[in-house]
Symmetry: C2
Subunit: 306 residues, 2 copies
């Protein structure tokens, strides 16, 4: 396959290497020309170019791996009708829409799961889900991507997978705050459990399936994002708990999707009439509320049935 | 309430202190007289006695917090018909039965959740589920136990809660082996996701409810058991991966419920016709199979739909 990967952040670059290792011809398009120059010698066998020079028209597949804020402009500039696989986890910042809906006229799939780029890059095993409403396309991608170390499962619940991918970063901010406040793993596990429940409520209302939330793109990705010391969103939550602002956290860490996604997710939840107390608390913290007061308040909601 | 807590291991002792702090009169019964002597000065306001001397007949509630291998003899020796709350996580080693079924003639409830004793003891917040087929009894216990730092939710799915509590220790052994082999958090998250799925399959077949598996006693407890460095079963899995035998791990760590539970769980799965590949792999490892070969084999099962 001729593949263009658009976006040369950690995951885009590592994913390009996975595809190269499976024998595909891969062009990696960087938004930044300097980065293209830096990456070229690192990724042997991958053609690293400036994004504007990526031969999208000749590709069999475009993999989009840019931050959610860049997704709409990047896919808007894609010429032709090449199928797209999205690795981006978030919502469209302008409209709050699921990102795949911005290219509903194309064949589109999303890939998600517990996939810390540093681990995959280091040759450690991982698994992911490819979701598309077109099962044939998902199956083709599965065959094209799966290797001994990177296992791909297919799923036709693109709504569930995309909403999981967006929401888990918001819950991870809260989990990072629990870490930052030193509240321990019991509290974090309770928060993650409630977090997965609110993710499932939202996606259920939006038409997603409950199994997706119990799967790799839901529980799997949420767990790794909340526990791995490598997770950016978890680390941003720690900084918030230490009194840093969301802006400072973003400067220190780089792209923190949960910060962009939280208010969009809260708005979606409000529109769909779904309660998402953890997401609401994260929004309040991002707006400057005292985080040391928010977490205990979440913990002390009236005990009730599960 | 007059409460007798039977079993003065880490969790039994800490739970006794929680009840004391809620104003109950608490007697803590130790199986070992020396331990009773050692603990007495530590737990102010708790009457620490040898188990045989515990005034079970005058209690309003007996809390059983012994290892699963001691559950049957301990409850068999309980006089009268006092209601029982079980904290024990495992199956009956003789029959493979859920532990609460051994006292089906009494009012019985089980408490489970992400409750690392060291954290609760240190005053960190936690949450748990109390399950009983008698919702009134569960609600009474909820009111008696809940505090600002220890939140209790009720649930009438005692089958699901008990099977979660037993099975999560087996999955945690596998998660520890993933840690021991240095396979990373992506692989562990994938394993935990598949582990929760096999727990849910088993309990569903046995009459438990899927919500329980997504809740505190399922996902919550599984997550903390698989990620906290404090978890005994996870640590035992690390030792297995390092080439130690199950016996050695038990000597080094103390009670490792997953080691006792794994073959019982596999037998139950077989009887119910449920596939539990991770549990099977743990049984093989406990029987001496090369763990470095088992984990990759689990990872490389045919990719398919989720």
């Amino acid at each position: 396959m001729n593949v263009v990967v658009v976006g040369a952040g950690a995951w885009g670059s590592v994913f390009a290497a996975l595809l190269r290792d499976r024998g595909h011809r891969v062009v990696l398009g960087c938004r930044n020309e300097g980065r293209a120059h830096d990456l070229a010698p690192v990724y042997e066998g991958i053609d690293v170019v400036a994004m504007a020079d990526a031969p999208v028209g000749e590709a069999d597949l475009v993999v989009v791996a840019v931050p959610s804020v860049s997704f709409a402009p990047v896919v808007g500039a894609l010429k032709g009708n090449v199928p797209v696989l999205s690795l981006t986890k978030g919502l469209d910042p302008l409209t709050g829409a699921r990102l795949s809906t911005l290219i509903a006229d194309r064949l589109v799939a999303v890939l998600s799961g517990p996939n810390l780029a540093q681990e995959v890059s280091g040759g450690l095993p991982a698994a992911a889900v490819v979701a598309s409403s077109d099962r044939g396309f998902a199956a083709e991608l599965q065959a094209a991507i799966t290797s001994a170390l990177f296992r791909v499962y297919v799923n036709d619940d693109i709504v569930g997978v995309e909403l999981c991918a967006a929401a888990k970063n918001v819950i991870a901010l809260a989990a990072g705050a629990v870490d930052g406040l030193g509240l321990g793993d019991n509290a974090k596990a309770a928060l993650v459990t409630r977090g997965l429940a609110e993710m499932a409520r939202l996606a259920g209302r939006a038409g997603g399936r409950p199994e997706t939330f119990a799967g790799l793109a839901g529980l799997g990705d949420l767990a790794v994002t909340c526990w791995s010391p490598l997770g950016r969103n978890r680390r941003a939550g720690e900084l918030l708990a230490a009194g840093r602002s969301a802006q400072e956290a973003a400067v220190l860490i780089g792209t923190v999707e949960g910060i962009t996604t939280a208010p969009l997710l809260a708005r979606l939840a409000h529109e769909l009439g779904v309660e998402m107390p953890i997401t609401e608390a994260v929004c309040a913290a991002l707006a400057g509320a005292e985080i040391a007061e928010l977490v205990p308040r979440l913990m002390s909601r009236d005990p009730t049935t599960e």
